[in-house]
Amino acid sequence: MKEKQIELIVQKVMEQLQAKFPTENRADPIDKGLIFTEKDWETSIPKPAFQEGVADLITSTPARIGVWRTGTRPLTKTMLKLQFDHAAAIDAVGGEVLENYLEEFALFTVETCYENKEVYLKRPDKGRVLTDAAVQTITERCHNRPQVQIVVSDGLSACAVETNLKDVYPALLDSLQLNNLTCGTPFFVKGGRVACMDHIGEILEPEVLVLLIGERPGLVSASSMSAYMCYRPRKGIVESDRNVISNIHPLGTPPVEAGAHIGTVLQKMLEQKASGVKLEL
């Protein structure tokens, strides 16, 4: 009953607002200058002694350089942008991938032993092991011993999955098709760490496994994804046995190009029966 009442109140307020501000005044907030764009955040050195040199340095990195200062400290704008990006990074870690987003790609969800976000952050080991329920689900639902197993996971950035999966995943499927590779049953792992590949490898025994996982957010991008790849993942695999394409996001490694390249890397793993530092790329 309470919910219904709130809904009614909201509806009334909305109607009143609409009467007060006729449609033509409700222009796009961006047009009205209410939303900050990247341009608004820009600051620059007022009179650089060597303009071309500074411009060259700035274009060479996404880091915050040549942003000027006040006394020995950053400008207020620079400080605010830093806090803004930091907040986005924290949100990315705390966020969750929406169930219906995953349905678009026909991915079902299983969980690791991470329990909740707090434990996930404190106990990385728990993100490497699937729950018993998860083991049972994938055993039942997944094709056993596939040539290629695709797994998607939120990892440390849920928004990495929401931003990039729609571009990486279909490009990856295309590359498998063109490389004549067959793919098992893909699924989503909630609360996953990179090494959950090993546990999944023990259960499904794929020839190669590719894990698309959200990266630890930074202050440049909070929605960056990595593709980890491994030949015959299993217990005891070490980091140097895996290959990775990192920094996949719209302003980094182009998602469609990354997806297209994964097929080639997997193909080489299958040919050479190796991955990681042993793989000749």
Partner: protein
């Protein structure tokens, strides 16, 4: 790990002299192992530079092809090269020679007999840039704040390029060269190049074949040439006021230039003692030595800081051998059996969300009008623009290109796409899945409408050498 060394040759056929050089280009991975692979030329080592020979001519307008080829064969033999060893390089026909009768035949003849992926290039602007890279001006500009002009003076033309921070700002070419007036030791004029006549006339100099000129008169002419050239570079005269001396230019006004470097045959002569007598001047039966000494004298009157060139007479050939080849991105989509492809014209369209298909159709119509003859592969499609490409857009673009290509070029078999941004593997994949064509899709190559492109055989599984020719022979 991941380095490849390729041999690259440069051949420079100039108005008065010809040179040959060999170099080794080291390709290395420049991206981290956590990123998509990316290769670049990380070292350029010149391993051999030939003697400078006089360009063999049959008559005034025709190159003596057989003797040029036999010279070249001897050079190849001397450095122990077989054609299949050479993976890249360029034959450049420079200065006035390029307008001579059989240059077109020569350039193609040489391109086919000098190695697997040796390309033929010509054009004053390109020549200026290559000379500036070969002379060391480009490198110098990277460690200096100043804009530097490299003046490469050969027999027929003076090619000027302005660099700043290693980047080309502008190019301009003048009808100023050592061989534009040929004389003997008595000062008798043996020949005056037609390209110099308008300027001589404008300056009211009377120079004709058979006349005898004194040293003073020759000094007056050469110092006049150098003064006008430097006046333009210093911004004291406009380019349009000296139309009769300017061969071609990329701009109407040059940027402010602080430094100059002089290369080319005349650049080399500038290092020698100035000629004192008519006989000294006519050492090579032309005005080269005098032009060099007058240039060095004249340049002192300007604010320019003169920087010594690392290479003088070999600057262009070194530039041609080491700087013409570019590398594609390392994630591309090719069919190796279709390569190399030579002299493919390019039509360009920009990626856009709004009217991509329309734009593409217009580009195709232009291409259909301009480039006829090769039914199998009429032209390559250049894709520019900085739009972020989602998978949906990628599919749409691939669909548009495929449909339009099939519609306008029903007999085409190969579809070649050259992208500016890193997207070729994904786009190539989409094209393969959506069309029936054989696909060559490469990226990270900047290209303009009307350019010609050569795409070489792969150097590594997915890495091809590319030469973009902005001004090619038809």
């Amino acid at each position: 790990m991941s380095t490849v060394v390729i041999k690259s040759v440069g051949i420079d056929i100039g108005t008065s002299t010809s040179k040959f050089m060999m170099s080794e280009l080291t390709l290395g991975r420049v991206s981290s192992h956590f990123s998509l692979p990316q290769f670049d030329i990380i070292e350029r080592k010149v391993t051999y530079v030939s003697e400078i020979i006089a360009t063999p001519l049959k008559n005034e307008e025709e190159i003596d092809l057989p003797s040029l080829v036999s010279w070249l064969e001897k050079e190849y033999q001397q450095v122990g090269l077989t054609l299949s060893d050479i993976k890249s390089g360029a034959v450049i026909i420079t200065g006035e020679t390029a307008i001579k009768k059989n240059a077109d035949a020569l350039i193609h003849y040489l391109a086919e007999r000098s190695g697997d992926f040796v390309v033929a290039i010509a054009g004053a602007s390109l020549e200026a840039v290559l000379a500036g890279k070969g002379s060391g001006a480009a490198r110098h500009s990277q460690s200096s704040r100043a804009a530097i002009a490299n003046i490469d003076i050969g027999g027929g033309t003076a090619n000027v390029v302005v660099f700043q921070q290693g980047k080309v700002l502008e190019t301009i070419t003048f009808h100023v060269g050592g061989r534009l007036i040929e004389i003997n030791s008595l000062g008798e004029v043996l020949r005056v190049s037609p390209s110099l006549k308008p300027w001589l006339c404008f300056k009211k100099f009377r120079v004709e074949k058979g006349m005898r000129l004194s040293l003073t008169e020759l000094i007056e002419i050469t110092s006049g040439l150098c003064g006008d050239l430097l006046d333009v570079l210093a911004g004291e005269k406009t380019i349009s006021s000296l139309e009769n001396l300017v061969h071609s230019t990329s701009c109407q006004g040059l940027p402010r230039i602080q430094e100059v470097m002089v290369s080319g045959g005349v650049g080399r002569l500038a290092l020698e003692a100035p000629p004192a007598t008519l006989a000294d001047v006519a050492k090579f039966n032309d005005i080269g030595p005098l032009l060099a000494s007058e240039l060095m004298k004249a340049v002192k009157r300007y604010h320019f800081n003169v920087v010594e060139a690392a290479q003088t007479s070999s600057a262009t050939v070194i530039g041609a051998g080491t700087q013409t080849t570019k590398l594609s991105g390392a994630t591309i989509s090719i069919q190796p059996e279709l390569l190399p492809l030579r002299n493919i014209p390019v039509v360009k369209a920009a990626l856009s969300e709004m009217d991509f298909e329309q734009q593409m159709e217009q580009a195709f119509l232009k291409g259909k009008e301009w480039f006829v003859g090769n039914d199998r592969l009429p032209f390559a499609i250049g894709l520019g623009g900085t739009l972020y490409l989602s998978y949906l857009m990628l599919k749409e673009i691939a669909g548009s290109i495929g449909n339009l290509y099939a519609k306008y070029f029903p007999s085409a078999e190969v579809l070649a796409v050259v992208c500016e941004n890193d997207m070729a593997k994904a786009l190539g994949q989409a094209l393969r899945l959506q069309t029936k064509f054989q696909v060559i899709c490469i990226d990270q190559i900047g290209i303009e409408h009307g350019d010609y492109i050569d795409i070489g055989a792969p150097l590594k599984d997915e890495l091809v050498p590319v030469v973009v020719k902005t001004l090619a022979f038809s």
